[in-house]
Structure formats: C-alpha cells, structure tokens
Assembly symmetry: C2
Homo-oligomer: 282 residues x 2
C-alpha cells in the first residue's frame, strides 16, 4: 500500500504511540501533528513523534488520512466540523466510546469517509512523553458500524491496524459500548475508588509505601489515569457504566455481609465463583 | 551463620518459594517438607523443593527451625500444639494476619521460640507447582511483637529474611493487621468482586476474552487467588476489613452518583484525588 500523509490530532499517549508505529512500519510518508496545547506540540516535535506541527485546518488540507486521538467529549463536538472540511481524506477516531460519536455524524454527507475504531490499548500515563514504541502490538482493535464507511476508507484502516500488529474485531457501536463498560471502564472506576479508599483510610503514607505489594500496585495503578480522558468516557457511556457499577456495588456488598456475619461458606462460594475468571484470563 | 535443618509446614506457593531461596542462599543444611495433602507432598519432592517428607511430629523433632506456611485459620489451631512439641527449635510463621495468632500463644511457655512474620509477597496461584525462584527479593517483611520472641530466634529470623533479599519492618500485630487490610486484603476483595461482576453481567465470554486489555487483567488477576488462603484472612481481620470495605463501597457510590447525575466536575475531582496515589506508587 502506498505511504500516506497522516495528520494526528492529539499527540498524547494514544496518538503519539500510534505515530511511532506509523513511522516504523512505513505506513506514513509524512506525519503532521496537531494538539490543543503548545507544550504537547513542542514535546511531540522534540521527541520526533511527528515531522511537523500545523493548525488543524491546514493539517486536514495537507493530509490523506486524519487520525483523531483526543478525549471523547471533544470528539463529539469536533468530528462533524472535521468531516465538513474533508474531501477524499480518510478520518479515523481512536476513542473509547462509540455510540454518541457515530450518532453525531450518522447523517453527515461525508459519513463514508469516517471509520469508527477503538484500539484496546493504553496505559495509566498521558501526554506525548508517555508515548511508547511497540504499543498496540498483539492487541485487539474494534471497528464499529463498518457498513457506514466507504470501502476504501475501511480497507485502508484495516490495513493500518494489521500492519501495526493488531487483530481486528467488528461490532456495532452499541455492542462495543456495552462490552467496553465491562472489560475496561469498570476496571478504571474500581481502581480510582480503591485509591480514594486507601488515601482516605490509611493516614500513614509510609506504611503503604513500605508494605504495598505487587497485588496492591496492580489493582490501583489505573488510578493514575488522566481525568480529561476518563470523565467524558464515563458520562458518554453512562447507561452501561451505571449498570455494571451498580452490579459491582452489589457484589462488594455480598462480600461485606458474608464477612460481617462470619459466613465462611458463603465467602468460599463467592471466591470460588470469582476464580472462574481463570477461563477468561490466563 | 551455621546452616540449619529447616522444616517447612505447608509446601505450597509461599512455603515452596521460600524453600527454593533457603536452599539457594545456603541457609538450610536440610529441608523437610510437611503438607496436608499427599499430592502436594509428592509434587514438592518431585520439584525438589524439599529433601524429604516427614510426618509433622518427626519433622519438628528433626529440625532446628520450623516454618509455618499454611492458611491462617489452621495456624491459630496448630501453633500452640507445635510450640508444645518444641525444645530449642525456632518457629516462624508466614501468615497474612497477625493479631489472632499472636494472641493465641501470648501466654504459651514456649512463646519466646516463636517469631511472628509476614513477608509481603505472593501471587494469585497456589500449590507447590506455583513456587517461584527469586520470590521475596526486594520485598518487605513485617516482624510483629519482636519483644515477645527470644533474642536468638529473632536474630536468626532476621538473618534469614535479609539473606533472601527482604527489607525488615517492625510492627505490633494490631498495627500490622490494620495496614494489611488497606494495602493487601481490600485489593483482593475488589478483584474478586470485579470478577463476579463481569461474570454476572458479561454473558459473552468471547467478547471479554477478545477485548480484555492489560488494564482489565491487572485489576482482575487477583481474583484467581485461592479461597482456602483468603477466607480465613478476611474473617480473622474482620474489623479492619469491614472498615475499609465500607469506605470502598462509599467511594464507589460517589462515582455512581456523579455519573448518574451527570456531575462532570465532581467526577473530575474524584479522579484527581485518586491520582494522588502517584505519590505512593510509582
């Protein structure tokens, strides 16, 4: 496939990590960066994540592909106006929610140029300096509402994701948001809440610092994640997130009640049931 | 320090991993294994974790040091009778709770031979086959109620833990149990409950399997942990665990209410507060 001029709007963790792969896998002929902050733009240039920085409109005009990698609340506002400016460019978004976004452009005359995707990769860090070489490899990417995209746009998007080592899944936007609530959004909420719990209860920082084991670190590390990214995800996916969060509070309450009432057998059963997660994660 | 004959009662993940280090660091002259199940005893021999298997009483009689590495409910029952059989042997337990155990032998005539410890290491797996080389290195070990142990017993125990690369912390049993609830026990409960939540809500195993990212895996991996180990920990540390668990349910409820009521600013504040965990874990 011919190398393309690619604009990356949002050169942080997600966009920056993709930029590295686009360059390394020779998918891009030129990488243009756009960001909401001057600091990020300067950092992205300094780290050579992109070849140049341009204003949004120029970046769109001078590209074959426009990649959107910024918080999903801004995406819903910006995607329609970006499509307004598009001629034959392919527009791909990397956001973590898909329903509101696809609905926002469902009737846009340029809808076909847009491909809705969600690569299932991230870390708890943010900004261009958090960008990682080799990200996305061996992870899943979900492409939503394929039928609404032009064939050439869809094909190029699939080519790009395969080339950076991802395996492709196809899903309707609504199904995506439901599953994402279960396998990603709820994990972040439990981790944020766990951090707040420990910060509230444990007044001796030193004790946590000294005693914290690998188990604690693994359950709480997502709590370092960026609010600018996660607040709009939780709000956009409100219905699914509330559903799974209410269930989670109920499940915790079962543990609470079993412990409070010294119900060893109930506790045993709850844990044995939880052990079934082994069939899903190695 | 002269190498000692060491009996390990419970040759699973914790005892088996210690056995490997005792041998490698030339701390033991002979390793005797004892376990509640024939399968574990056979596996421990096959994996050469120990040199021989003996019945409990013979193992105690033929050792200089007796290490206890089995679930804490059995520990409370067995420790007094093990101390009954002890002459000059040192007895060290590796259990995750310390109050009930130290109280159970507080007035035992042989109390001085016993050292109460909690090495802060583990994985979500169990049994002799889960034993790992190099475990415990660079982790903390907490030694409780030092003043109740004979000086020689205490000194040897510290020597052993330093030799396998651990850094020592000293704490009263009550303080240990409080901090352990915050930095270890609650993480396991949230992970078990998260697994049950996802298993309850997500009926499409395949979707989780395909979509599950590193974030999901890290928050849910502890849910594979062994109920035989964790049920008695939660029950013995009931007061502290309930306190932190109730706080956690409240923290989750704050997230739930903010999302339900579209309170973006509240959600932002909750997440920014959670981000403060950065000062504790890197």
């Amino acid at each position: 496939m011919e190398r393309k001029r690619i604009a990356i709007i949002g050169v942080g963790l997600i966009g920056g990590s993709l930029a590295i792969q686009l360059h390394e896998k020779k998918i891009s002929s030129r990488l243009i960066g756009v960001d909401a902050t001057k600091e990020h733009e300067a950092k992205a240039l300094e780290l050579e994540l992109v070849d140049e920085i341009l204003p949004l409109d120029e970046a769109i005009a001078q590209s074959d592909v426009v990649i959107l990698a910024f918080p999903v609340d801004l995406m819903v506002g910006l995607l329609p106006s970006i499509l307004d400016k598009v001629d034959q460019q392919i527009v791909v978004d990397l956001g973590s929610t898909k329903s509101q976004l696809t609905e926002a452009v469902a009737n846009h005359p340029k809808r076909g140029r847009y491909v809705a995707t969600h690569p299932m990769w991230g870390t708890e860090y943010s900004g261009p300096a958090a960008a990682v070489r080799g990200a996305y490899e061996n992870k899943a990417v979900i492409i939503c509402n394929e039928g609404d995209s032009d064939l050439d746009a869809l094909e190029w998007t699939k080519y790009m994701y395969k080339k950076i080592g991802m395996h492709l899944l196809s899903m309707e936007a609504k199904a995506h948001d439901l599953h994402a609530a279960y396998v990603s959004h709820i994990s972040h909420i439990t981790s944020f809440a766990l951090a707040n719990t420990v910060l509230e209860k444990e007044k001796e920082d030193n004790a946590i610092f000294e005693m914290a084991s690998a188990g604690f670190e693994s359950t709480v590390r997502l709590a370092k994640s960026n609010p600018a990214m996660w607040v709009p995800i939780f709000l956009q996916n409100k219905v699914n997130v509330l559903d799974v969060l209410n269930e989670h509070i109920q499940q915790l309450t079962k543990f609470r009640d079993s412990i409070r009432d010294d119900k060893g057998t109930d506790l045993q059963n709850l844990i044995e049931h939880a052990n079934k997660i082994r069939r899903i994660i190695k």
